[in-house]
């Protein structure tokens, strides 16, 4: 009898088939339809901007990440894709690359890498770009007739003024908030994506499908998007009914970064609460902040800052929503002699 190959380990001796790497890559796969949709609407520009953001993230992870293998865990890939998807199609590539670098380096690696960060790294990159290049990031080029032509100013050189004068078009949110002739974009256009906006913001349908797939696989906590949608709908509906805001509640849900933010950014496991109860609170907070920023803020869009602000509160939410121990009333101080 051979005894040489027997290992001795502590129980449990079997593991579920799930793995962090698998979760990460299935998120990437679920984004494929969203990416395809943005390429369909925005042409090669979409590919270039996404590639630039992804390159910035992967390179930064490879250079500064905790170990050389951490690039392959898929998390840097997700950050890159998500960052790219919330940039305008005509965004200069060098800026997208820089955003990827900043998001990874200062949003994640500086905290200690995967699992240690407080803020969603893609949104950190996006916030950095918003602060550094406020004009470029709010320039939405009008759709060109030719699918093959590049949008806007993709190939601008670093720190040069734009070379191309682009015709711009407003996003549905910008139009309704700042436009001279505000109109509510029809829901169907928002749903299928034939509107202006960032690469991944335009088609609610494909994001919804990707999100549902992830929720079905158990790789996404559905409590978060649901509570965001419910709170956004209820709060904005209330303001709309009172005549305070011009945003109809359904328009609120399907416009801007709402879908992408609710399904992909807010649900980032690392930066969202650990308990379901906490996720309800977290999602409610995001919905509330989005409505406030969209109605009264100086920006047309508020999803990014709403999520980042709630990210900062996660440790406190976690502390406040610890599970009730089995066989106790759940009160903090138990009578233990």
């Amino acid at each position: 009898m051979t005894e040489t190959n027997i290992k001795i380990t502590a129980s449990p001796h079997v593991r579920s088939a799930d793995s962090t790497v698998k979760i990460m890559w299935s998120v990437v796969i679920s984004l494929v339809p969203v990416i395809g949709c943005s390429i369909f609407y925005f042409g090669p520009s979409a590919i270039l901007v996404l590639l630039a953001a992804v390159a910035g993230c992967l390179l930064t992870e490879r250079l500064f990440g905790s170990n050389p293998g951490s690039v392959s865990d898929g998390s840097a890939m997700i950050t890159g894709l998500l960052l790219g998807l919330c940039l305008p199609p005509g965004f200069p590539l060098w800026m997208a690359f820089l955003g990827g670098f900043f998001g990874m380096a200062f949003g994640k690696i500086i905290f200690g890498g995967l699992g240690q960060n407080i803020f969603n790294p893609a949104l950190v990159g996006r916030a950095f770009l918003q602060a550094a290049f406020p004009v470029a990031i709010t320039t939405w080029p009008a759709k060109s007739a030719n699918w093959w032509s590049l949008q806007g100013d993709n190939l601008a050189l670093p720190f040069m003024s734009p070379v191309v004068d682009t015709a711009t078009a407003a996003t549905p949110l910008g139009n309704l908030k700042f436009g001279d002739d505000p109109v509510v974009t029809p829901l169907m256009d928002l749903f299928f994506g034939s509107t202006g906006g960032s690469l991944g913001e335009t088609s609610a349908l494909f994001i919804l499908l990707g999100g549902l797939y992830l929720a079905y696989k158990g790789h996404l906590n559905w409590h978060i998007p649901l509570s965001i949608f419910v709170s956004t709908f209820v709060i904005s509906g209330l303001f709309y009914a009172l005549g305070i805001s011009q945003f109809p509640p359904l328009f609120m849900l399907f416009s801007g970064g709402m879908m992408l933010g609710a399904f992909y950014m807010a649900t980032d496991m690392v930066t969202s609460p650990i308990t379901n109860k906490g996720c309800w609170l977290f999602g409610f907070g995001i919905g509330f902040l989005v409505v406030i920023i969209r109605i009264w803020g100086g920006l047309p869009e508020g999803v990014m800052y709403a999520i980042l602000l709630m990210n900062a509160l996660v440790p406190f939410i976690n502390r406040a929503t610890q599970p009730r121990l089995f066989g106790t009333s759940g009160k903090k101080k138990e009578a233990k002699s």
Binding site: M1, R15, D73, V270, R324, F326
Partner: protein
Amino acid sequence: MKGLPSFKHGVHPPENKEITSGFASKRFPFPAEVILPLSQHIGTPAKALVHPGDHVERGDVIAQAEGFISSTVHATASGTVKSIELWPHPNGGMAPSIRIDVDPNSSQMRRQRMVPRWQDVKEEDLSKEIARAGIVGLGGAAFPSHVKLCPPKDQPVEVLLINGCECEPYLTSDHRVMLEMPEMVYEGIRIALKALGISRCVIGIEANKPDAIEMMRKTKPDDLDVTIQPLTVKYPQGAEKMLIKAVMGKEVPSGSLPSAVGAMVQNVATAANVAAVFETGHPLIERIITITGRGIKNPGNWKIPFGTKLRDVIEHCGGLTEDAAEIIFGGPMMGLGQANLDVPILKATGGILILSKDECKRQDIMPCIRCGKCLEACPVFLNPQLMGQLAKAERYEELVEAAHLNDCMLCGSCSFVCPSNIPLSQYFAMSKTQLRRLPTS
């Protein structure tokens, strides 16, 4: 299967029970030597009564229980006591054990003895008879059964719960007990009910054993107040607190025994063996054991005398396959990995699991991504994520006081679901060991 009672949280490991569930149990041949550790139960080790050279018959007392929480050990085969020495123990390390050279010419007939009819034994004496027979809980913990039958006076037991869940994947020994000896289980129930002075009993069986549920229903005596309750298939359904929650809807208060909610839980195999004591007068010397996993050539269910060495069991079951990777006493979730083929089978060994390489793949440990799956798995609502961090940092005091380590029963659900393969349950087991070593202040 929906709508059946259960508990909150828990996990669904692959069951793999089909490997052995169809094999009727067969008698295992007597080995050349049996090794009987003085400690096969929770509590004080028994005190040896025999000396090297003594002849013992199958069923003779060879070690006497020491104190109340202890259990008597009997010779599981006729032969000659070879020595009493330190021998590898399945729980790890060495333990004093009685080695018996089995007489190859013995018929292994058990000594005939006077058996009292349990109906004629007084309530309070029943538990003494059970103690004399060395019966311990056969569900895995091996807690002396007579202790359980004497609950604290201020917490009267109202319901006897018979545990036929067998929620550990792979194992089918309890399943076979219910199929092969349902009358014995019911007889055991009668005795336990009489000892406790109650009349109500519920048998909880996971719904993945429809034939066992059917058999128990078919053989149910009309005069007994017994309910057979099918339960959701979910690990750890067979844990005492989870079974009580599923059947009675009550949570056993943290730090308390089941008697706090008026319940007493007994495993089906234990019940059957309690019956055997009064049926035949024979003590606990053998049981049905599942030998399973894809690392053994001929899996099956066997009636094996305690003290049989792991080596003999494996040899008789055709040996290990090429890709055998782990040998475990118990199931895959809570079983103990074995390092030595000379360890003997104990009273609480319900199964021997030999996993092949494919069944227990190791993956790299990744950083925690705070997905919260461990919180959703923990049946007692702990926060394994936080506990894992505290355990890793060796902050044991906080682990006990703020994170309730003592409520953790090491069921392994958190480690099972963790996508980053963080050895959470293993950390907690280690922390408990470390805490026991610390001087109590």
